[in-house]
Symmetry: C2
DNA sequence: GTCTATAAGGAGATAGAC
DNA sequence: GTCTATCTCCTTATAGAC
């Protein structure tokens, strides 16, 4: 069954719907800033400003402060991103077509965001891996779930042990491609990653 | 020709040789902290402390301040890392063996550093890509050189157009594997990346 | 040249008015 | 609950003693 999801899902970090509550606006602004600038590079004052919320409201809704807000963002946007990718994969019947389509779609979204929005957790993960054990663990949980989810998807087309290596490769290629694409302001790495992923999948069948 | 380089090159961010000058110690401490904690997450006070140097010496040797120091680190450690990888690739005659060997060696180094040292520029690149155009450009230059260097190496074994996709895939897999490996404190992503890279190279020959 | 003290500003966090 | 003012600490950067 293909095309189970709409072919133009909203970007993960688009503006929040008008009329959203203060808490929702704070979460949205925080997700965007943390994803783009990392943990240390994001100031709570900026979060409040972007959310059009008073500074104190952050501590009203997130008594744990910056750490609690960041962990919430990692654990929320991580699964959202996986759902988005799995949705894209369902839009094509042939698995090789599906993989290439997902990477091409990611390339378009990256350009559309002005090369700002790639992986919602990678920037924060690298930022905190050496200094914040709680947030490192949260990011590790997210990546593990992605690989499990990817393994399940690839298992529909190849043997389980091969499926796991394919899922790992897919996550790594996505992350590497977002890093190169954002840094070079070029969508080509994502398309190249899609071609490589298609080759790997074809070789495993 | 194989084994052109020693089989145990010193880690990129090992301690500086005793008797190093103040400038060298500052550059070394900065390279390590920027690589591990990113740009915003690294304080110049910490750099001075780690370098056993007075705070003011940073501005004596780097009048441009934090930005100048960070750009120097990106442009210095980037080529060093490529040289290290190319050296590892020369230690095996068969190209598929060489690729697997390089990833296995990277996996060992990652574990040996306590999962602290992966790519010397990726953390900073993601940290600054949205906020500092100069440093973003420096990181983009480094990645472009890596892909050019990798394309030249793969061109010894496959056609030029295929060599470029292989080089891109290698950089992306390395970066993704370092991200997953550091975050999960697990060397397995680097080994999985090596297996995928071997598959891609074999498929391209 | 090496090093210290301080300036000026921004950070996270809190207290309390409304 | 919403919002403001402030507290304390830490940052980059500089001035100037030695």
């Amino acid at each position: 069954m293909a095309a189970a999801t709409p072919s133009n899902p909203p970007p993960l970090l688009a503006d929040p719907p008008p009329g959203s509550g203060t808490r929702a606006r704070i979460r949205h602004a925080a997700a965007r800033l943390f994803a783009r600038r990392g943990y240390a590079g994001t100031g709570l004052k900026q979060v409040a400003t972007d959310a059009s919320a008073p500074f104190g409201s952050i501590y009203h809704f997130f008594p744990g402060g910056k750490d609690a807000l960041a962990e919430d963002m990692i654990r929320t946007t991580g699964p959202q991103f996986m759902a988005l990718v799995l949705g894209l994969l369902e839009e094509r019947d042939d698995p090789v077509d599906a993989v290439v389509h997902a990477f091409d779609s990611a390339a378009r979204d990256l350009v559309a965001s002005g090369y700002a929005d790639g992986c919602p957790v990678a920037t924060m993960a690298l930022d905190v891996v050496d200094t914040n054990e709680t947030l490192r663990g949260a990011a590790a949980d997210v990546f593990a779930e992605w690989i499990d989810g990817g393994t399940a998807w690839f298992s529909r087309h190849v043997s389980p042990d091969r499926a796991r290596d394919l899922a790992s490769a897919m996550v790594m290629l996505v992350e590497g491609a977002f890093l190169l694409g954002r840094t070079s302001r070029d969508p080509e790495p994502l398309r190249a990653a899609g071609r490589s992923m298609a080759t790997l999948l074809a070789a495993a069948r």
